[in-house]
Amino acid sequence: MGRKIFGVVLAVIAAFAVGGIALQREEPINALWIVTAAVCIYLLGYRFYAAWITAKVLSVDVTRAAPAERLNNGRDFVPTHRWVVFGHHFAAIAGPGPLVGPTLAAQFGYLPGTLWILVGSVLGGCVQDMIILFLSMRRDGRSLGQMARDELGPIGGVAALIGTLMIMVILIAVLGLVVVNAMKHSPWATSTVAATIPIAIFIGFYLRRIRPGRVLEGTVIGVVLLVLSVWGGGLVAQSESLRGWFDHPGAPLALGVIVYGWCAAILPVWMLLAPRDYLSTFLKLGVVAMLAIAIVIMHPVLKMPAITQFADGTGPLFSGKIFPFVFITIACGAISGFHALVSSGTTPKLITNEPDVRLVGYGSMALESFVGIMAMIAATLLDPGVYFAINTGAGVVGAAAADAVQTISGWGFPVTVQQMQDLAKEMGESTLFARTGGAPSLAVGMASIFGTSFGRSLMSVWYHFAIMFEAVFILTTVDAGTRVGRFMVQDLMGQVWQPMLRTSWYPSILISSTIIVAGWGYFLYIGVIDPNGGINILWPLFGISNQMLACIALSVATGVLIKKGNLKHALVAFAPLAWLSFVTTVAAVQKIFSADPKLGFFAAANDLAAKLAAGSLPADRAAVAPQLIFNQHLDGWLTVFFTIVLWVVIGDMVRVAYRSIRGLPVPQGSEAAYIRSQLNAATGTVDGVGTPSEARA
């Protein structure tokens, strides 16, 4: 054991030294160093920390039958090869979050975000995903909400349910905003994204009627059509007669996304959601692999400084100091509460063998975190001036190109109007100024990586391929999230009025879908009319709500581990919980109480109200001011609400922990009884992990 720890310490020091040396000499750093350091750290975490947790803390038992074996029904409970479950689980947790978060956090420089992605995932996110997966597997695949209720009590259960619903609304709104901003006044992007809808529907019919269940066939046809749609979008953008159809400002596009989301929620899943998901999963895995290869081929030098002056809180993408906001902004690349929902959903029902939780839970999150690292590289290999010109809202630097470049160059990140025009032309766009939301700058970054590695002549196609990839990805999350939200609303309303519980009864579907779409549609619309781009408000709110959900998951994990009796072992969940709840609370307090109108929600509302009353706002901004003021208040109260929910759950966990330590009665939990596995014990397929159970029958 001692040698192992020594190995870990040595390797971590070595990895960080590489980054440290480059940093101290003020030399630009090559992305390959970051990739190398990241891969080493994931491997070390996986090999040592995760192995230790599974063996000692969770005591995974290779002889114990997993629910997939005990409850095998050939459908959702199916013993499945661990690499297949890994693929399944990774496809489920990987979303647009780790692409957008690091892109925004790059305003602090490449170093702070990168460090948190690595440390946060290895010690926090991966551990959370793995423990929740393990707990759910031991409880026949119970959901996070059910486990919170069983292990902590009804308060924890209700908090988890409400937390999930709220995060869903904010998440969909912010992702919708990312797509809208990517399509704004871009006929190419808009027509390509629009084409993905009929393509998905066609594949839906193909898989349902023409060749039922031939998933790979359908997917391959769909992906070919998607690639053609990127090419077709280019033709649309060049055609004088067609481009007008797809050239729109933000508000109508937002309306389009809202109507689309509503339709997707009420249509049968096989028609739109399921086929879209096959396509998006295929693209997702393909692009992630391609990006990794291309980064190694290109091995770009990062042009962004390690740390920028915006660490002091004056950043143009979003306000707030590096602490706590780098932790809030990175979100899913380091730790995501949302993953706990997937880890306690379909995945635990597929695991054949208890030790597999290490590969599936810890390993998938490590890979997801690596996607975050690649997004960080794609953002920081751009000229910083270009990065800020793309990502800063017109409300911050001015709508005129000349004003924007002057302001940004004044920050010490030189950029010219000519440079931006050339870049926009190369990417096939009319302008790249103020394309907030992260998607366009990520697409420019990805296009440079792909273009340099696989052929520069097609830059504009690569750019729109990247936009299409992000949009397909995001719209899948919009569809799936709206649907889950719909079920939750049906469930909640069903408590009051029974018929709402009939999930396939059309009036119930229509009412609940309308409620959930109205919820996220509202935030999306406000984000679109916000002159600062909306992302700077919505993303921190999303980060806070997602981390709050992570805190709920970690509270459940801590509670269970304390009840098992070993307090030291409970630290593996408690330590990330303590840090995360601290960071999230500090961020929430700043968003609520800060007197700086750029940072505090209420301060912003008061500031805008004062300006409106004094008549100092231009006419167009005065027109939307009342809505923005109301929204800032709403966001402020939401943050208050999130913080209260967070501390109620932590309080509940502390109560259970205290009672457990004092030997008082605590909820007994719902762990299934030991049954000897016929699958694993007989063949003895173990890879060194797994301890025999104490309760051998």
């Binding site: 050939g74 979050g97 898989l207 039922p212 269940g213 096989w270 999963t281 997937v342 079920f487």
Partner: protein, 62 residues
């Protein structure tokens, strides 16, 4: 060479399993073992049920 073909076959089966392409075949195998004597679902019915089931919980993330 034989080894390479065998590996490729394993990988292909893994891809089919992961994507759900062979879910129906696996269901038939399971059905033949566990529910002998009853009529299994048709491919179309099975696919419809699977799809409905997959999307009734949280199966996609941010």
């Amino acid at each position: 060479m034989k080894q390479a073909i065998a590996t490729a076959k394993t990988v292909w089966e893994c891809v089919r399993t992961a994507s759900g392409d062979n879910a129906y075949e696996r269901y038939l195998t399971h059905h033949a073992q566990a529910h002998r004597g009853t009529v299994p679902l048709t491919r179309r019915e099975f696919y419809a049920q699977m799809t409905e089931q997959k999307w009734s919980g949280v199966s996609r993330c941010c």
